[in-house]
Amino acid sequence: MTSTTHPVPSASPTSSASPTSSTSPARPHPFWQLVRVEARLFARSPAAVVWTALLPIAAIIVLGVVPGTRRPSGSLGGLSPLRVYLPILMMYVLLLSAANLLPAVLSSYRERGILRRLSTTPVPPSRLLGAQGLIYLGVGVAIDIVLLVVAICCGVPVPRQLPGFVLSMLLVAAATLGIGMLITAFARTERIASALGMVVFFPMLFFAGMWIPRPTMPHLLRTISDFSPLGAGVRAVGASLEGHFPAASPLLVLLAYAVGCGAIAARRFRWQ
């Protein structure tokens, strides 16, 4: 932000002498101030914390502690239930934070006139969107790291294909964020945003393999899963956990969702 450089009649001589006053250490940058405040507000919403953080962490600990789920299972293509559910839970966290909580919060901000009020200040409302995106993706990534660490402690091998793993996770984050922004663009109110979030939440988790893990899916379901965002995500992350670089097709599917949803959302988005 270089909002202090324009000539306001009242500008004091000292500030016009130092055109970079907005980056002085005494004044926190508005964007980071927004991030701080919004992060605090996230921490003050107990439901969001329970569903995004506590629940998946509890699930992975249970899966890791019960001995039976750590052993390879023939019905799961030779993988242990812990290993099968690790990427699914990681998808769940990003889906919930970026495609459910984020659209609900942003729609409520638009509904309450918060974005509109912001647009009367020198800080454009797009900064608030940026801060929110950063927080919800940040929360998602941080919890996914916790899930991975817990799983490694319980015997899942360290992902040997780290670049492939990071790339897959980034693409999943981008795809879920695109879906979240698409919901935000189309939902006029917070209630509609929450409802749309639920509508995509369960099918997407289903095709990620939450209830029927991908190795046990019938052929048709698995094909659909390949082309669903989280199915592709589980495929890509699963391959990188095995030590292979993910195949091109799941990465392209994720990229298509991210770019396609993001572009439609950007076109349709309304600030008020």
């Binding site: 306001v8 004044r27 926190p28 309450r112 009367t120 200040t121």
Partner: protein, 301 residues
């Protein structure tokens, strides 16, 4: 110095014309009122001044800048309090002010502003727990935190009880005393009469009058109704013959004299000469209410 200049503003939403042709200018240090019935185009006008909407026609200047194009220059020196705008329910009062303070190059001291607005005790309270009046005061505080040269206050006493309204009026006077030019939107006559230096009366998207509240009321063919009980008998015919007096009538002991703006001084001089006292003297003058109704009803058709 002209701070806000609106010239031939026109704005339509589809087929519905919200603002037909509005012009006015606000001088530095004024409290300028936009007065008019609901749907007259007041809010659309201030939204164009705030740069939230682009006019379809005409020009708006705030401190010489176009608010729709020159966002950075206008947002830094214009504080806006909008109708229906909430904050995050879990945001505390002081956090909100500190956040908004970080947006401006030379913000006011948040704690001092809270004290001025009587919110010192609520600094740690979440927005969702504030009363209607407290939310309004916080909203004003957020409009002032950037030390603006101009503040837009839109219908800020709507929904407040009489005491809250009176407190808010004192606050607006205090805001002006800080050197802030105020553009006040209201549909309360009493508010405009009490606070505004000048008022633009808006009806059906046009300015139908623009003057000081007192000039608006005297501009009406001001009739005065003077009631009193004379201490000694008076000759009605002589009273009626006084210059400026239109009619004289009796209601029991009480005399009712109707006349123009000079009738009262003429009458008191006559009574003094006659050595008659006027007991229970009351003078009914047209208020801004009457002026407003006269102005907006003639244009209704």
């Amino acid at each position: 110095m002209t701070v806000v200049e609106v010239a031939r503003l026109h704005k339509a939403y589809g087929a519905r014309v919200a603002v037909r042709d509005i012009s006015f200018s606000v001088a530095e240090g004024e409290i300028f009122g936009l007065l008019g019935p609901n749907g007259a185009g007041k809010t659309t006008t201030v939204e164009c001044v705030a740069g939230l909407r682009r006019p379809d026609g005409g020009a708006v200047r705030v401190l010489g800048h176009d608010p729709a194009r020159d966002r950075a220059a206008v947002t830094a020196s214009l504080g806006v309090q909008l109708q229906d705008s909430d904050l995050q329910p879990n945001l505390r009062v002081r956090e909100a002010l500190a956040l908004f303070a970080s947006f401006y190059p030379r913000p006011a001291d948040p704690d001092e502003l809270l004290d001025v607005l009587g919110l010192g005790a609520q600094a740690g309270v979440r927005f969702g727990k504030l009363s209607g009046g407290q939310r309004q005061r916080l909203s004003i505080a957020l409009a002032l935190i950037g030390q603006p040269k101009v503040a837009i206050l839109d219908e800020l006493t709507t929904g407040l009880d009489p005491a809250g309204r009176r407190d808010t009026w004192e606050l607006i006077s205090a805001v002006r005393d800080r050197g802030v030019t105020v553009l006040l939107v209201t549909h309360f006559m009493a508010e405009a009469e009490r606070l505004c230096d000048r008022v633009a009366v808006i009806d059906a998207g046009r300015v139908v009058a623009c003057d000081s509240p007192s000039a608006l009321t005297t501009r009406l063919d001001a009739q005065q109704r003077i009631r009193f009980v004379p201490s000694a008998p008076l000759d009605d015919a002589q009273l009626a013959a006084l210059p400026g007096v239109e009619s004289v009538s009796r209601h029991g002991d009480e005399l009712l004299v109707v006349g123009d703006a000079d009738a009262l001084s003429v009458l008191t001089t006559y009574l003094a000469r006659a050595g008659v006292l006027a007991h229970r003297l009351r003078v009914e003058q047209p208020s801004l209410d009457d002026a407003y109704l006269a102005l907006t009803s003639t244009h209704a058709s």
